[in-house]
Each structure stands twice: as structure tokens, then as C-alpha cells.
Amino acid sequence: MAKNHVTTTINGEPVEYLCETQQTLLDVLRDELQLTGSKEGCASGDCGACSVMVDGRLVCSCLVMGVEAEGKSIETIEGMADGDQLHPLQQKFLENAALQCGICTPGFLVAAKALLEKNPDPTETEVRYWLAGNLCRCTGYDKIIRSVLEVAEEAKGA
């Protein structure tokens, strides 16, 4: 069967690709476009390691078909830093060692950025619930939650 031709926008750049119908957006990002920052943890929408933004909504790219990206605007972890300038969340995760193995980190960063754009001053409870769909088996979450809260706090002072 012929592959699907998809025209989309990824991190602000126009992108075209061919994909099989059964490929997920995550498969396309990683295997066709070599954007391997988004990770496959569970492939069933439970772990959030593949989190990306599609038209401004946080989603699991493992639960989006590659063909669905037609005409959409996709943001991935690769678009988070501005050149060599890390996003404040990325910087804070490093400073606080809010990661160990790092597999969940891109998903957490994309999800946390989406939270702060929607709610710049969240409570700890709001952060914990927002990030409930991002699983980390190393850190115990505290450093991650604290990092998000610190970035929000520092943005208020800025």
C-alpha cells in the first residue's frame, strides 16, 4: 500500500514526510525524522515520555497517528531550547538534578512548559496533578516538582 504523504510544521519549520498508516507520530518523529528526543516508554499513553504539543495541546505522540499531523503544528523537545540557550525549565532540571536516567525528562519538560504557559503560578498540587501522566521511575518526583515550582517563582520576580 502507498505511503501517506504528510505536510506539517515541526518546531516552526515546514516538514514533509512519508509514513505508513500504522506508524504513530512518535514512530515518525523518531524513525523518519530522527527527532529522537521524544521517548517511547509504554506506547499506550500511560507514561508521558513521548509528550509533544499538537496545535497547542499537550498529547502523547504514541497515541497520535503519523498521518494525523497533516496541516498541524507540532512542538517537540528539540524546539525547547533557543539555540544554545536552554529553556529555564531545562536549566533548572540540570541545576536541581531533577533527572537520573533521563528517559522521562523530555516528556516532563514538554508537559511542564505547557503547564506554565497555561498556569504561570501553579500550586504544588496543581503541578503534581498536571504531571500525573508523566512517570519517572528514578527521581521520586520531588526534584522535578520543585524545579517546576522554582521556575514559576523566578518568572514572577523577573
Binding site: T21, D46, G133, N134
Partner: protein, 288 residues
């Protein structure tokens, strides 16, 4: 999934014709939060997937004289962001918001939650309690179907080949009306209901319950509309005696399975408890 065909039509008629004309199994793709998991695991292997998200009627919602018509594929996050809708149909919107994570909320929809036909779907008892009506389109035109008549068993619906739930209508509320949905899960987030209970009730000026609908989820092959529960509330001040009758009626209606997430005994008892607690919240919302 080999050879699976993907179509993304922009009209209901086209979508219906594609589904009706499929030679093998065909599936509607809304948010995909159930379908993609099923495709991945091999639970389903459709010949055709029809993505309905390019159909405006399925991706928008409107309010007309107090009645909402919600496109079946509108993502839950969008509904939860609408303060007016959340204020009016708090139970329905909160129930849908319980489904999955933030990421799931960005895609999952009322129509998808309903048509996936899980007995534990959180939004379904809430919609049944609310008296929600599905607007169904198919090869033979349109028909209206109460939400409680869509699911016929786990994973099974009454929809004919080529039929699609286009939108869901929530009726205009009587002046003092409130709704609520509660579920039991062993943790606080990201789990599937062991028991769910949806209640919608209306009060007159004296505080007497004039109308009620009560629905239980995850305690039968489909979500139940329990008339005996409503009867326990209607005509009362929703006092302790009425609540005790509601509790008993809910326990009598529940016919759950035993599984690793809950025993028959536990689910039966919790049916009564959650019906009462949801009624108490609905009562407070109706009174305020």
C-alpha cells in the same frame, strides 16, 4: 495493522458513506486514546480508520437557549476550560476530566468515551444522569438516541454499520438543578473506575426534589440508569431517609463482577456509598 486505510473526510455524509462501504472492519478515530492502544495490541485490526476530526460539527460545540450541543470529538480539555459549561454541567465535565492524564485530556472526547463502550467509562454515567441525547447520523439519515441506549455490552454499541455519534446534547436545566459524578479508584489519579455514580437532580422552591436521574458505572456490562434510585429521591427533601433508600436502591441495582480491582461485595457496597455522596454534591449544586 498492515494495509489499514486512513481517511479524514470533512463531512458527516462522507464519513458515514466510508464506514458503510468498508469491506472489512472500520473504526472511527476521534481522540484515539483507546483506538491506538487497541491497534497496537492487536485487539482490533480494521481495514479502514475514519478520522472525524476534520468534521466541524464533531469538533465544535454550541449553546442554544441553555441547551448544549457538544461535538462528539471535542477534546475534554477544551470542555473543561469553558467556565460556563463547567458551571452548568459540572458533573459531566468533571467526569470526563477524570479520564486519564493531561495528555489524554488533550485528545479524549465524550463521543469516544461513550462509543468505546467500556462499562467503566467515567463520562457515561454522568451523561446518562444528565439526560444527554446522542445525535446519530448514518446512511439512513439522522436519529436521536439517549446515551443509555448506545452501549449494549463491553465494547459493543447499538450503532448500525455506517452510523456515527455526531454530537451529544445536554438539555436546558430546570432552575435549581445540579449534577455530580464520583468514582472509586484505589489511587487519586490515572486509574479506571471500580465503581462510578452519576446523579442529576432538580429542586422546587421549597427544596423538594422534583426530578432526578441516577446512573451507576462499572457494576454491570453497561452503565445503568437506575429508576429506583431516582424514585428514592423524587418527592423528598433529599434527607437522611431518602439517602438511605437511594443507597439501598443502588446496591440492589448493582450486579458487578469480581476482579482484581474489586470484589462483588465491595463494589455493591460502594455503589450505595457513591450514589449517596454524589447525590449530596448534586443537592448542594442545585441549591446554590
Amino acid at each position: 495493522m498492515n494495509g489499514m486505510r486512513y481517511e479524514a473526510p470533512s463531512s458527516i455524509d462522507e464519513a458515514s458513506a466510508l464506514l458503510a462501504g468498508a469491506s472489512g472492519e472500520a473504526r472511527v478515530l476521534a481522540g484515539g486514546t483507546d483506538l491506538l492502544v487497541q491497534l497496537r495490541s492487536g485487539m482490533v485490526a480494521p481495514e479502514l480508520v475514519v478520522d472525524v476530526k476534520n468534521i466541524e460539527e464533531m469538533m465544535t460545540y454550541s449553546v442554544n437557549d441553555g441547551a448544549y450541543t457538544i461535538g462528539a470529538a471535542v477534546p475534554s480539555a477544551q470542555l473543561h476550560e469553558d467556565a460556563d459549561l463547567l458551571g452548568m454541567w459540572t458533573g459531566v465535565v468533571e467526569a470526563m476530566d477524570l479520564v486519564g492524564s493531561t495528555q489524554i485530556q488533550g485528545r479524549a472526547s465524550l463521543g469516544g468515551n461513550l462509543c468505546n463502550a467500556s462499562p467503566a467509562a467515567d463520562s457515561v454515567p454522568a451523561m446518562i444522569a444528565a439526560g444527554a441525547i446522542c445525535n446519530v447520523a448514518g446512511p439512513n439519515g439522522r436519529r436521536e438516541v439517549p446515551v443509555e441506549d448506545i452501549c449494549t455490552g463491553p465494547g459493543q454499541t447499538s450503532l448500525a454499520k455506517g452510523e456515527i455519534v455526531v454530537s451529544i446534547s445536554l438539555p436546558k436545566q430546570a432552575p435549581r438543578t445540579g449534577d455530580a459524578y464520583l468514582r472509586f479508584i484505589p489511587r487519586t489519579e490515572m486509574d479506571i473506575a471500580v465503581v462510578g455514580a452519576g446523579v442529576c437532580l432538580s429542586l422546587d422552591d421549597s427544596g423538594t426534589c422534583t426530578d432526578a436521574r441516577v446512573s451507576l458505572g462499572a457494576v454491570a456490562p453497561t452503565a445503568l440508569l437506575v429508576k429506583e434510585c431516582a424514585d428514592a429521591l423524587i418527592g423528598t427533601k433529599v434527607d437522611d431517609a431518602a439517602m438511605a433508600n437511594l443507597d439501598a436502591a443502588a446496591r440492589a441495582a448493582a450486579s458487578p463482577i469480581d476482579d482484581k480491582r474489586g470484589t462483588v461485595e465491595f463494589r455493591t457496597k460502594v455503589s450505595g456509598v457513591l450514589a449517596r455522596r454524589a447525590a449530596a454534591i448534586a443537592l448542594e449544586r442545585a441549591g446554590s
